[in-house]
Symmetry: C2
Subunit: 201 residues, 2 copies
Amino acid sequence: MIRVVLAEDQNLVRGALAALLSLEEDIEVVAEAADGEAAVAAALEHRPDVILLDIEMHPVDGIEATRRIRAALPGTKVMILTTFGRPGYLRRALEAGASGYLVKDSSPERLADGVRGVRAGRIVVDPALAVASLERGPDPLTDRERDVLRVAATGVAVTEIAKTLSLSAGTVRNYLSSAIAKTGTANRMEAALRARESGWL
Amino acid sequence: MIRVVLAEDQNLVRGALAALLSLEEDIEVVAEAADGEAAVAAALEHRPDVILLDIEMHPVDGIEATRRIRAALPGTKVMILTTFGRPGYLRRALEAGASGYLVKDSSPERLADGVRGVRAGRIVVDPALAVASLERGPDPLTDRERDVLRVAATGVAVTEIAKTLSLSAGTVRNYLSSAIAKTGTANRMEAALRARESGWL
DNA sequence: TGATCCATATGACAGATGTCATATTTCATA
DNA sequence: TATGAAATATGACATCTGTCATATGGATCA
């Protein structure tokens, strides 16, 4: 029997995935969690074989939860399950110690097979996404460029970004300029959108 | 027995929801679809009591599918099931003829209860969302303002927007200016984000 | 048949944005 | 320890953006 903890922030989807996994003879969902914090707690309490983590959870996301779980329970395998096939997400998930990465567009059979795969020690990754990750290359942005882009993505003006990050307006424009150059885009918004789609934010 | 057709574009979520609904004694999922087009076809073929529709599907979305299904099969009840609790979505869904609107953050029990509710002729809507919809008021944007905002949301410059929509650059700036005024925001990007969050795009 | 709104357009102006050159400080690393 | 990268800052310049006044033609509606 493979014991699984399931972490996903949308109640309905979480319940549905639990129902789906419960149809498998050899898989048992021993706990559910709605965010990263609760996922770590559930992992510590139940010591599952595999933990399924969504990435987009607040306040603690699936990547950070992966890091904490791998540190505390090296024997537990982590499988990421997310809507977004973003190269940067995959890279960060693997660096954080995940053994698997599935997008929610995968077929239901692949989920159960994936759980069995990581349990057996394999790395389970969508091949197309792995290729995209290599093609895109690593994140070229510095920490501050990322910070500035993240705030810029909300549409606020330079002076607002500067206030938010306690920087001078000129410095913010410098970071935006270099982020725009590195992403090969024409303005802050395209840079932010591109960085997001690459999984860098 | 309540016969249900389920339309949702993410395979894994669709399969999981089907598994969840199948746990109910009185509900039977008679067909699944991955987009609006297929949903309409499945509805015509299977004549279900209730059809569950995600909104975010391509190329035909859940709102458009609702319209077509209501026109062809007035007896079939439509329930929208979406990630986004956007007031404008709710309004448009009801105008298109939907009987229910649930966000994916709802509890699993509410899904089955909701299906029974719309089957019984009730309108099933999250009360908080209904209030938000009334507070926000109807979409104040003109067709062209919406068009321009949609393109602007991709981050491109005015000349690009103008080229895309076959307008002069000045006209585009006029529309952007009035959209910014109507949304009470400070620039095109905030206007686009706000319009999107309101469900106007 | 006016009144009003929408779609479209132009010109002018002030302010915001993106680029570039340049500079200091800190930190890691060869 | 010297080198380089990152974080931070300023000033200057050209271009882009948002606003406003104004105009025309079509649609709708009382």
